[in-house]
Every structure is written in structure tokens, then in C-alpha cells.
């Protein structure tokens, strides 16, 4: 009997917790600090002392609405706060303030690029809540609790199960991180746990005209994009195996479950059945009054919406002729993209400036682990460097070298306080000083070619008579000419003159 053909579809929804970028906690004035000594950023409100009253942080609320708008959500005109009760040592009040049935944002969507197309992922809801503290478990017989994090504002975003592979979920998480950092609502630093992901995963199996659906697994608390991808891929495989071994591994026959990701072993591990899920006894928090979002508030927040990364990337391609890949890299950081547009507006040729941002400025910034905007180079200098490259005053190698020298001038200045007035030398001046101005003079270039040919007879021989090595040898000779010129020769002229000389020698032979 032939094996029945199976069609497998993975069904993924995501729950994401985003730590909002505020100076203080959600409901009290304690600072949000990642590295403070234990229990040094706490007060009666976030410690859950009796009689302490929470008050909403307006900044956190604004960030949340702004994100809801960027995710194309309907913003609720009336929203309220609820208590979610459970017992855990890092939850000092024995309840978490959250939003249950009236979230501030719902029914939106987020379009993400997947394999060159845009894919729409529906957003179920987004609501504000407070984070719990931190527990240290690796001690014998006891747990230590630090409540500095307790009360930190979190935005919980829930998607519909519209994602259909581990790679799509991975792309979604990256795009969401880009969105929240772009909006400035979160720093989105994974290492600090500022974004945490909980994928819901199951599979639909079509077999002999019937469809089977496995129980839904919620993978708890993933804090890296890679873990999201690996955990989902593993879980889909695991569920298929479980169904293959036991066709009763199906929804309504087996419970949904929570599982944890063991990154070391590369597997998900059973935590508990969803049927025994805690009863959170949600009810409205009597300490917090509702929020009515007026037209005025909404207009004010809507006005803060910047052009979003995906739209901006498309515009950089269509308006300035950047490659999709370069545009993608530049758009990654809002300030960098702003700076590029600023220098283009100030007269830098767009194509050269775009390439120079990726190949020169971003490289230098990455080496220093900062953004291009923090390099301390003036926009005017960036404009001039692009112009000089475009009009042939300097070649690409010289531009690279010049950028490094400009940075050396910029760095002491950036760190010195009152020295801001000191004028930095113009790139043209620097290029002249360093002898990097491109030499277009044919006679001078011919002299370097002559010198290179005399010094490298073997390469000349190969270039003329050894078909296997001819190309490499010619390239070597061109390189020697550039070297002799101190990087100043015009590369196009060098190509022409080296070819000319080789042709001449061929004619003689």
C-alpha cells in the first residue's frame, strides 16, 4: 500500500513584550535602571505596600498609543486597568496591573517583507502592563528577589496566527524591533530583555482528504531572534513526530501546553498543561481611574508618527536610486537615515553618498560600536567627501583613507568639551595635505605604468603569453601602478594605460 501524502502547514501566532523607553516606572517615579544594585530603585508603590497609590506615566501611555497607531490598530476611546492576580515572589502586590477586556489598541496589522513580497500579519491587540521583578534561582534551597524591575512599563502585543514558518516569525520579530526603535518607544535591546517573545505553535496536517490539527504549544519567554526561529522549527518537527506516533495527538483530544526552550540542548521542554492554567481573577483596579482618549490626544500622538522603516526603505530606493540592500542597512537606524537625507539635501550626490554611507561611514561606526551620527563628523564634511568622490577629485580608496583621517580629527574634538568651535580641516584641504588628490595627468600615470612594467617582468610575461594567468597578471600590474601613485592615480585611466601598453608589447611580439 502506498504511503499517504501529507501536507503540513505550520501555524504561528506571537505574543511580544516590549519594554517601553521611559525614565520612570509605569505607576511610580522610581527610575528604570538595568544595572542598579538590587532593591535600590523601589518605593512603596512598586513594593506593593498597603495604601500606596499608582499613577499612570503619561510617557508610557503615549508610547503605547503611538505603537498602536504604527501597527494600524483601532485605538480605544475608553480604556481601563485590571488586576491580574497570581502568586509569585517577584510580584510584590500578588497581582499585576494590566488591561484585560478593554486594551488600548486592537485589530491592527503589520506588513513585513517575506521573500521579496509583503506579508500582512494581523495584530489582535496591544495593551499596557507592568513588569515583575527578577528572581535568582541558582541557589540551594532559596530564591533571591530583586524588585528593581517590578513596575517597569511593558507593551504586550498579540498577533493573529498568521505566520506560517519559523523564518517568517524571525522576520516579524526583526521588523518589529526595527519599528519600536524607530518610533523611539523602546530601545529594543534583546540582551537586556527589552523584547521577549512567546510563540504559539501548532501544525495542520492534511492526510487522505482530512485535516488534523495538533494541540497549540506556547513557548515561553524567548529573548533572542535566533531562539524564536530555532524553537519554532523544533516545535513543528516535534509535533509532527508526536502526531505520526499517535494520531490522537490532536486538539480536543490532547491539552494545549506551555513549553520552555532549552537553547543548550536545542529542544523545547514540557512545563504544564494549559487546562491547569491559573485562574487570574481579573477585575478592574479600583486604584486607577480609566483613560478617555480624546480626539485632541489622538491627533497630538498621530503627529509624532515618523515615516516608518518599510516605507522609508522603499522611498530611498525609488527617490535616490539606492540598492534595496543599501537602503535596508541605512534605514536600520533612524538617525543614520535622517543624516543621509540631510547630506543629500545639502548637495551630496545621492548615489555616491548612499554607497559611502554603507561602505565607509557605517563600517567605521560599526568598528567603534556606535551609530554614524555619533562619529563626530560634520554633515558638511560628509557632503564634501561624497562630492569629491563623485567628481573624480579623489578615488574610492582615497575616500576611505580620508574618512579615517577625518575621524581622527573628529574624535579628540568630540571628547573635548569646549573645543566645539575649533574648525576641522575641510576634506579637500586634508586630501591635498595627504597627497590623495587623484592624478588625471596622462604623462605622470604613464610614468608609473612604465615603472611597474620594468619592475615586474614576470607579470608582464604572464599578462602577454599565459592565457591562464593573463587576467590576474594584468590586475596585479594595475595594482602596482596604483601603489606607485600612492593611491592617487585615476583607476579608469590606469586600466586604459595598462591595456594600451600591453597591446603595444603584443604588437611588437
Amino acid at each position: 500500500m502506498p504511503e499517504p501524502t501529507l501536507t503540513i502547514r505550520t501555524i504561528i501566532g506571537l505574543e511580544i513584550h516590549v519594554q517601553l523607553n521611559t525614565k520612570t516606572k509605569m505607576f511610580c517615579g522610581c527610575p528604570v535602571r538595568y544595572d542598579a544594585p538590587p532593591n535600590s530603585c523601589v518605593c512603596p508603590v512598586c513594593l506593593g505596600h498597603p495604601g500606596a497609590l499608582p499613577v499612570i506615566n503619561r510617557q508610557a501611555f503615549t508610547h503605547a498609543v503611538l505603537t498602536g497607531l504604527a501597527l494600524n490598530c483601532k485605538i480605544a476611546r475608553h480604556t481601563k486597568w485590571d488586576r491580574k492576580s497570581y502568586y509569585y515572589p517577584d510580584l510584590p502586590k500578588n497581582y499585576q496591573i494590566s488591561q484585560y477586556d478593554l486594551p488600548l489598541a486592537a485589530r491592527g496589522f503589520f506588513d513585513i517583507p517575506v521573500r521579496g513580497r509583503m506579508k500582512r500579519v494581523r495584530i489582535t491587540r496591544a495593551h499596557l502592563e507592568e513588569d515583575a521583578g527578577k528572581s535568582l534561582h541558582d541557589l540551594p534551597g532559596c530564591t533571591l528577589v530583586d524588585l528593581n524591575r517590578a513596575g517597569t512599563p511593558l507593551l504586550e502585543i498579540v498577533t493573529e496566527p498568521d505566520l506560517s514558518s519559523a523564518d517568517e516569525a524571525y522576520a516579524f520579530c526583526i521588523e518589529l524591533q526595527r519599528l519600536v526603535t524607530y518610533l523611539g518607544v523602546s530601545e529594543g535591546v534583546m540582551q537586556k530583555g527589552q523584547m521577549r517573545f512567546e510563540p504559539n505553535v501548532n501544525i495542520a496536517i492534511r492526510c487522505d482528504g482530512r485535516e488534523y490539527r495538533t494541540p497549540i504549544t506556547e513557548i515561553k519567554n524567548l529573548n533572542s531572534f535566533r531562539h524564536v526561529r530555532d524553537a519554532i522549527a523544533y516545535e513543528a518537527r516535534r509535533q509532527l513526530t508526536a502526531w505520526t506516533e499517535d494520531h490522537d495527538y490532536q486538539q480536543d483530544k490532547r491539552p494545549n501546553e506551555n513549553r520552555g526552550w532549552n537553547a543548550e540542548k536545542g529542544i523545547t521542554e514540557y512545563q504544564r498543561d494549559k487546562e491547569s492554567a491559573p485562574d487570574y481573577r481579573y477585575f478592574p483596579d479600583p486604584d486607577l481611574v480609566p483613560v478617555e482618549i480624546t480626539d485632541g490626544m489622538l491627533d497630538e500622538i498621530r503627529a509624532m508618527l515618523p515615516e516608518l522603516p518599510i516605507a522609508r526603505r522603499q522611498r530611498l530606493v525609488s527617490e535616490y536610486g539606492l540598492s534595496t540592500r543599501d537602503a535596508d542597512t541605512i534605514v536600520n537606524h533612524r538617525g543614520t537615515a535622517d543624516l543621509l537625507e540631510k547630506v543629500i539635501a545639502a548637495g551630496a550626490p545621492a548615489d555616491v553618498a548612499g554607497k559611502q554611507f554603507v561602505n565607509v561611514w557605517l563600517k567605521l561606526a560599526n568598528d567603534r560600536n556606535v551609530h554614524v551620527t555619533d562619529l563626530g563628523v560634520e554633515p558638511e564634511q560628509i557632503v564634501e567627501l561624497a562630492r569629491m568622490t563623485a567628481d573624480g577629485t579623489i578615488n574610492k580608496t582615497a575616500a576611505n583613507r580620508l574618512a579615517q583621517v577625518m575621524l581622527q580629527h573628529a574624535e579628540p574634538r568630540a571628547s573635548a568639551r569646549a573645543d566645539a568651535q575649533r574648525s576641522t580641516p575641510s576634506p579637500l584641504h586634508l586630501a591635498q595635505e595627504l597627497g590623495l588628490v587623484q592624478v588625471h595627468d596622462t604623462a605622470a600615470t604613464e610614468a608609473w605604468v612604465e615603472q611597474a612594467f620594468t619592475a615586474n617582468p614576470k607579470a608582464v610575461q604572464d599578462a602577454l603569453g599565459n592565457p591562464k594567468k593573463a587576467q590576474a597578471a594584468a590586475g596585479f600590474l594595475r595594482g602596482q601602478v596604483m601603489k606607485l601613485s600612492g593611491g592617487k592615480a585615476d583607476p579608469n585611466l590606469v586600466v586604459r594605460l595598462v591595456e594600451k601598453r600591453l597591446a603595444k608589447l603584443r604588437g611588437k611580439g
Binding site: 513584550h17 521611559t22 525614565k23 520612570t24 511610580c28 517615579g29 522610581c30 527610575p31 544594585p37 538590587p38 532593591n39 535600590s40 530603585c41 523601589v42 518605593c43 512603596p44 513594593l47 499613577v55 499612570i56 506615566n57 503619561r58 510617557q59 508610557a60 501611555f61 481601563k80 492576580s85 497570581y86 502568586y87 509569585y88 515572589p89 517577584d90 510580584l91 499585576q96 478593554l102 513588569d131 515583575a132 528572581s135 535568582l136 534561582h137 541557589l139 534551597g141 532559596c142 530564591t143 533571591l144 528577589v145 530583586d146 524588585l147 515561553k220 519567554n221 512545563q271 504544564r272 485562574d279 481573577r281 478592574p284 479600583p286 486607577l288 481611574v289 480609566p290 483613560v291 478617555e292
Partner: protein
């Protein structure tokens, strides 16, 4: 219709509140809680047709604070009432197999 709370429900609620109750208390609380419930149920009597539901008793909305840091407590003060502490942490019996939030 008057609701009542049976003993199973009392045990469930007690477990949710992490309260240890004796069998005798379960019987007593079932009776007491049932009578509280039926008292509160008087609220079902008035006709509320056409009255919008509310989650709050106060006619106040939109109370916000600016995102400004205010002084916190020193760890010593924060830990003052803790039954046990260690290196400025609260120290509690080991908890495992349960997830927060």
C-alpha cells in the same frame, strides 16, 4: 436567584488565595460567603436597562504623571519588613515549575 458557594468552590478560592483551611472552616466559610453573595445580589434588582456599564465608581478620568524620577527608598528601608534577606535581596523559599506573568 440566590447563588451559593459549595465546599468545592470554597476550597478552590482558598487555594487561589494560598490559604490553608480546615474542613470545619470550609463548611463555615461556605455558609458565610453564600450569605455575602446573596446580600450583594440585591444589586441585580434595580432595572439597569439603558444604563452604560462602568468599571469605576469615581467620575474621574485621565489622571497622569510626568515621566520624572522621584527619590526611591534605600535598600535597607525596602528590606526592613522582609522576613529574610541576603545581600540586599529578598530571600524566599525556592519556587520552581511555575512561570510568572
Amino acid at each position: 436567584m440566590a447563588s451559593s458557594l459549595d465546599e468545592t468552590a470554597v476550597r478552590h478560592v482558598a487555594h487561589l488565595a494560598r490559604l490553608d483551611v480546615t474542613d470545619e472552616e470550609v463548611v463555615r466559610f461556605a455558609k458565610q460567603l453564600s450569605s455575602i453573595l446573596s446580600y450583594v445580589e440585591q444589586l441585580n434588582e434595580p432595572d439597569t436597562t439603558g444604563i452604560p456599564p462602568t468599571a469605576h465608581a469615581l467620575p474621574v478620568t485621565n489622571v497622569f504623571r510626568g515621566d520624572t524620577v522621584r527619590p526611591c527608598w534605600e535598600p535597607d528601608r525596602a528590606l526592613h519588613n522582609a522576613p529574610q534577606c541576603q545581600d540586599n535581596f529578598f530571600r524566599v523559599p525556592k519556587v520552581l515549575g511555575q512561570d510568572s506573568a
